[in-house]
Symmetry: C2
Subunit: 139 residues, 2 copies
DNA sequence: CCAAATGATTGTATCATACAACTATATACA
DNA sequence: TGTATATAGTTGTATGATACAATCATTTGG
């Protein structure tokens, strides 16, 4: 394994993370709202606080506060979990989906700009490599 | 431009950033220490608080506190700026370099593990694409 | 049936950050 | 040259995201 390649990846990941976390908003929506809504809209089934906490590797209390905010904004609604009275399920509301779509389009427009000099092949490959890295993290 | 490629990149970047920011430490060193030391060790010349703040796009006050911590730990030392009495320059100490090298090696070992299933070509390409993206951000 | 486990909420502490106020120094120009 | 303005840095204060602890309600297992 070529050490230089690893060093480059290491350094560029540090830079990327540092820069990216400076963006407090994603497409005009704060980061936690965007990621939670994205996750809720992608996850097939009903999703509890616990499930979100596991997915994001955040404390249950943190997710509990975030979902409370989302609920207050009307972006998600709470459904009773008939099988377990301690928890409930969240699902994205129509308003939430509308806002998420707006935010996502804003982000895509920005990314289209960022990647406009790249070839189709490069964009495709970059996305695939990122996905592969993320799937590896999970393990 | 293929919208699906952009969507994949968009989503995987969100996931990557979210996951990565959970790591409060990089190679046994907290994130700000690691990034500051890396920057100081890479930047050819003497580096002021202002220069670091510009580079990281953080407030001067934030960098001021971080450098104070690094100085207290003995990882950097302050040199007078003879041309300007308001500011001083920072440089990494031997101890700082030693600790940074340790941390970097720890990170590289972890990355070697993460990327062990990748081909040489994929690692090389991923590093290059990351670097390209980061250089584009700057503009 | 009761003890232990689990999901969620809320209180509290910590940390990274930005902004504001202030100090010291440098720069510009009248 | 002297003064007004700009700039670098530090410190005080506020905010937001987070973890941990305490607590409550409910579920599960012996």
């Amino acid at each position: 394994m070529n050490r230089n390649d690893l060093e480059l990846i290491d350094y560029e990941l540090v830079v990327l993370i540092r820069r990216s976390t400076l963006d407090k908003e994603l497409g005009g929506m704060d980061r936690s709202t965007y990621t939670l809504l994205t996750q809720l809209s992608k996850s097939g089934g009903p999703t509890s606080v616990k499930a979100l906490a596991d997915e994001f590797r955040l404390d249950i209390s943190t997710i509990s506060r975030q979902t409370t905010v989302l609920e207050a904004k009307g972006y998600v609604q709470r459904l009773p979990n008939v099988g377990d009275g301690r928890s409930s399920y969240f699902q994205v509301t129509e308003e939430g989906m509308r806002r998420l779509t707006e935010a996502k389009n804003a982000r895509l427009a920005r990314h289209a700009q960022l990647f406009k000099e790249w070839s189709d092949e490069e964009r495709k490959q970059f996305g695939e490599l990122l996905a592969r890295l993320n799937r590896t993290f999970v393990e």
